[in-house]
């Protein structure tokens, strides 16, 4: 009756579980389709095809240690079961739903009736965001309401107008410019092609509903949203449940709208089986011309579970299966029950003829979940897929929703040679704990060179201590937006003396910690202290940099509010190899002191210079840049009134490698001039933002 993809004899899980599985399937034949059963790992495909209630999966304790399946089930291939399920539901719900099936299928809105009649009472609730709970970055300052992510909550302030307004939510980066900088991380291998997200935000609503529509009001350069997810957890409830599920409502590719005008983005979302009031939006602005700005998010949903989900049986898309995650089983439990290997010399077919390294090469192209699935298919692949050489680079960021402590502990045995680890965004809402992370680090961190821990809110001081102890060779550490990390935790970073790249964007690092880091890490090449509001005196930091970190190549001091010309002068005289310098929104730097001219003269290798919203940048600064920094590629002089067209033209002529020039809100530079020089210098992308 049921078609099985792999017969139980070939199944790698030869232990009692497969017998249980067979038992349960027979049991299921007679029972209601909502009965669940154990999965045979290799045959999970078959399992999903006939189970109607995937929600039941979660209740098995094995599933807690696994990547959860995500796809809805499908009975369309099994007509008898379909009839069974329909009969079951028709019988149960005939009382309340008999006359309204067409209504329910046809329309999504229904008028609320006064009395509880036979007609269903499905009221569509429309809500604006209540509170932004978490996000990976934003353009604005930490205690401001201009261009910050908190503007996404509430009613729209700008829509339907278009433009660059302060009342919108803006991310920190756009386009591909930051990826081209030397300060960016090398991309990890094995990133699945379906994972495009660069930034995210989490928005909570007042009331949990079953979502029917999500509308995002984008007011400037729309097109960045690539994924919308819904969470089963109510962030305002007092007793959070133990397991938290994230379901993808919609996923798409990054694209760019034709014009930068405002639009209402309303993709068709999937139906989910739980009520949600927590949405997560993931964005990718790499195709956009300028910063994307979001005004509000509207969540439309119904309070009662729609019956639509039961009648409309989705067809399983084979491509969906590649997104879904299976359990990563315990490596120890998967011993194949084959006997001596000699008898099975040709048991693996042609694979036995291929050299070990070749199979390793083939397998090295698989993304991590497929690697885990392949490990369960037979002993040969198990050996290959559990080989630590496959786990030199490991990026778990695409799987942030499903990574748990148990998954980490299962991966431990394979990751002993780990060199580059990306766990950014993981540990969302308690799935990974500090203890689990620490034990993983102790097992696998000995040869770690690069560690990406952006937005990891489970990190504590103990975690950083463990990192400092177990990873002596660590060269890259990214703690961007780990804003719940206590200030004293950063003192441990000073023990990583080989550190070359350190990202502390939006953290609470204090002056004493950063000074000790700079003292003991003289190899620093890339340092990001953007929006570090707890550092009191950036002049001292700058002078320490110039004294100790002379090989510094890139420095991000975005929104450091008290750097003065004295500190800047010391910095540029000490760190002569600087190529990238971001001094955006540093309002205390005055051009009249000559600091920018001194900078231009001191840093001939300068490739990126951001002087965003420094209102004092003037013609003589540009002339010095033109004269000395011919390698300049990215320049941002947003918001100055003192720069004229002539000096801009001179700069463009002297810097042939210039690719990005942001002259937004420069009052002397009008759009006609911008058009003219865009024609003359076609390689330069000139940005001129507008407010209406």
């Amino acid at each position: 009756m049921f078609i099985f993809r792999v017969s139980s004899e070939e199944c790698a899980s030869n232990d009692s579980r497969s017998e249980r599985w067979i038992e349960n399937t027979e049991h299921t034949q007679h029972n209601t389709p909502t009965h669940h059963c154990t999965v045979c790992h290799a045959c999970s495909l078959a399992y999903r095809l006939y189970c109607v209630e995937p929600v039941a999966l979660q209740r098995r304790e094995e599933k807690r240690a696994c990547f959860l399946t995500q796809t809805q089930s499908c009975c369309s291939m099994f007509p008898m079961l379909t009839l069974l399920s329909m009969f079951y539901y028709i019988c149960l719900r005939r009382r309340s739903r008999s006359g309204t099936r067409s209504e329910a299928l046809g329309s999504r809105r229904a008028v609320e009736l006064g009395q509880r009649s036979a007609l269903p009472v499905t009221v569509e609730v429309e809500q604006y965001g209540k509170e932004v709970l978490d996000f990976s970055s934003h353009y604005g300052s930490e205690n401001s309401m201009s261009y910050t992510m908190w503007n996404l909550a509430g009613v729209p302030n700008v829509y339907p107008s278009s433009g660059d307004f302060t009342q919108t939510a803006v991310f920190r980066t756009y386009g591909h410019w930051w990826e081209k900088c030397i300060s960016s991380a090398i991309p990890f291998r094995r990133t699945p092609p379906s994972f495009h997200s660069q930034d995210y935000l989490e928005l909570a609503f007042e009331e949990p509903v079953y979502p029917t529509a999500v509308e995002v009001l984008e007011t400037y350069h729309p097109g960045a949203i690539v994924k919308i997810l819904a969470c089963s957890l109510n962030p305002f409830s007092q007793n959070p449940p133990a397991d938290v599920r994230w379901e993808v409502l919609w996923a798409g590719k990054p694209n760019k709208a034709v014009t930068p005008q405002a639009r209402q983005f309303s993709p068709s979302i999937r139906q989910i089986s739980f009520a949600t009031n927590l949405l997560r939006l993931e964005v990718n602005s790499s195709l956009l011309e300028y910063y994307t700005e979001l005004d509000a998010v509207i969540l439309r949903g119904v309070r009662e579970r729609p019956i639509l989900a039961l009648y409309k049986i989705p067809v399983i898309d084979i491509n969906d299966l590649s997104d879904s995650e299976e359990e990563i089983s315990d490596a120890g439990g998967l011993c194949c029950r084959s006997g001596g290997e000699n008898r099975h010399n040709l048991g693996n077919g042609y694979f036995d003829r291929l050299p070990y390294e070749l199979i390793q090469l083939i397998v090295s192209h698989l993304p991590v979940p497929d690697l885990c699935r392949l490990a369960q298919s037979c002993k040969l692949f198990h050996k290959h897929c559990c080989d630590p050489l496959q786990y030199i680079q490991l990026s778990l960021q695409p799987y942030w929703a499903r990574l748990t402590d148990a998954s980490l502990s299962h991966l431990q045995s394979r990751c002993t040679l780990l060199q580059r680890l990306n766990m950014s965004w993981t540990g969302n809402r308690g799935a990974v704990t500090a203890a689990g992370f620490c034990s993983f680090m102790k097992a696998c961190g000995a040869s770690l060179v690069c560690l990406e821990l952006s937005c990891c809110h489970f990190l504590t001081e103990a975690c950083l201590e463990v990192i400092a102890q177990t990873c002596p060779c660590l060269q890259e550490l990214n703690l961007a937006s780990c804003d719940r990390l206590q200030p004293q935790a950063f003192n441990h970073i000073a023990k990583l003396t080989n550190l070359r790249r350190l990202v502390l964007y939006r953290t609470k690092v204090e002056q004493s910690a950063i000074l000790s880091i700079l003292t003991f890490c003289p190899e620093l090449r890339h340092l990001n202290l953007g929006s570090c509001v707890m550092i009191e005196d950036y002049d001292v930091v700058a002078s320490m940099l110039s004294a100790r970190c002379r090989s510094l190549r890139s420095l991000d001091l975005w929104r450091c509010r008290n750097l003065s010309e004295r500190g800047l002068a010391e910095l540029v005289s000490g760190c002569r190899l600087l190529e990238e310098l971001d001094l955006g929104w540093c309002s205390t730097l005055q051009s009249s002191s000559g600091c920018f001219q001194h900078l231009a003269r001191s840093l001939p290798r300068l490739r990126k210079l951001f002087l965003t919203a420094n209102r004092t940048v003037c013609d003589s600064d540009l002339e010095e840049l033109a004269a000395n920094c011919s390698a300049l590629e990215h320049l941002d002089i947003l918001g100055t009134r003192m720069v004229s067209s002539a000096s801009l033209r001179k700069l463009l002529q002297s810097c042939p490698r210039l690719k990005l020039l942001d002259v937004s809100f420069c009052s002397q530079i009008d759009s006609r001039f911008v058009q003219e020089i865009s024609g003359l210098f076609p390689n330069v992308s000139i940005k001129k933002s507008f407010t209406q």
Binding site: S144, M145, Q590, S667
Partner: protein, 326 residues
């Protein structure tokens, strides 16, 4: 008839006055009375809808259109038994020095002055800002600074980023937010902010410069603000100067504002205005006009709009002229 008199004489300063009356908690809904201007704010559950129906009259010169230009007047108060929380019934009006040319700005901006009225569940907040006109000589529009400051303070209040007992905090945050704008703002203005704490029935005020407020109870002025001036015609002011001119341009910190707080009662009238009102109208005239306002609980606010309540006095004339609004 009166109209021609008004036309003949230039005004020295803009006049903006916002009158506010302590009242029982009721939503202030000022409807259009057909005069062509109105502002209606409705709160509907979660969402507040604001409908601004602010029609700009063409430059026609007629008594009717003049009446349209001059907005509604101060409203009287209600004396009701108290709900637990106090709230304000508000109205604002004003006109700029160039009102004759028919120039009218959007929102609550009158000439170089701007004002705002904002409500939060813990407090009602009113603010007035007077842009310093001297910037015009340097090519800077003085109204931009004051209008943006008031819009920013309004937004701060609506989002709850303030403490009711500290209007200076609102001013400081508002000023800081102005600096966070990508657009390079220039200019300066005075500011006066008044916060009614609903629970504690206290009014917290702060005043920087020569705008100010009056609190009138029972026909008598019970509180007033003090003017802050450096020297003649140079009040204390918040400013953003062009780079290089910071030493030359007067710039006071928000902390230099005068703060005060006191209790208020039902039926009090609070008048916040720029110096255009206080310089041109002596106290007794203001009190006279306010006395004429009688609001009973049956009358609706829109009827008060029609009541004769607005006086414009011409500087230089000995006896004041009266113009009746319609």
């Amino acid at each position: 008839m009166f109209f021609h008199y008004v036309l003949g004489f230039p005004l020295r300063s803009d006049v903006t006055a916002a009158g506010h009356v302590i009242s029982r908690p009721v939503c202030a809904c000022l409807r259009n009375t057909g005069a062509g201007e109105g502002e209606c704010e409705r709160r509907d559950g979660r969402r507040a809808r604001q409908v601004h129906a602010h029609r700009t009259p063409s430059g026609m010169l007629s008594v009717l259109s003049y009446g349209r230009i001059v907005a509604r007047a101060v409203l009287g108060g209600l004396s009701q038994t108290d709900g637990r929380d106090y709230s304000l019934i508000t109205a604002s009006c004003g006109f700029g020095k160039d009102f004759r040319k028919g120039i009218l700005k959007k929102g609550m901006c009158y000439g170089d002055d701007a004002c705002f009225i904002a409500r939060h569940k813990s407090a009602d907040v009113l603010g007035v800002a007077d842009g310093v006109g001297g910037w015009r000589d340097y090519g800077v529009d003085p109204s931009q600074f004051s209008a943006t400051l008031m819009r920013t303070c309004e937004r701060l209040v609506k989002e709850g980023r303030f403490t009711p007992s500290s209007p200076v905090g609102i001013l400081t945050s508002g000023y800081y937010e102005l600096l966070q704008n990508k657009v390079p703002l220039l200019g300066s203005s005075t500011a006066c902010i008044v916060v009614l704490d609903r629970r504690s029935h206290r009014l917290h005020t702060c005043n920087l410069g020569d705008s100010g407020f009056l609190v009138v109870r029972g026909g008598e002025v019970v509180h007033r603000s003090d003017e802050q001036q450096h020297y003649f015609n140079t009040p204390f002011q918040l400013s953003i100067a062009p780079p290089g001119a910071e030493g030359v341009v007067l710039s006071d910190s928000p902390e230099a504002a005068d703060s005060s707080s006191f209790d208020v009662q039902l039926g009090d009238i609070i008048l916040t205005a720029t110096d255009g009102l206080f310089d041109n109208m002596p106290d007794y005239m203001i009190l006279q006009e306010l006395k004429k306002l009688k609001i009973s609980s049956q009358r609706r606010e829109e009827d008060c709009v029609n009541s004769p309540a607005w006086v414009v006095m011409q500087t230089g004339k000995e006896s004041p002229q009266k113009v009746v609004t319609c």
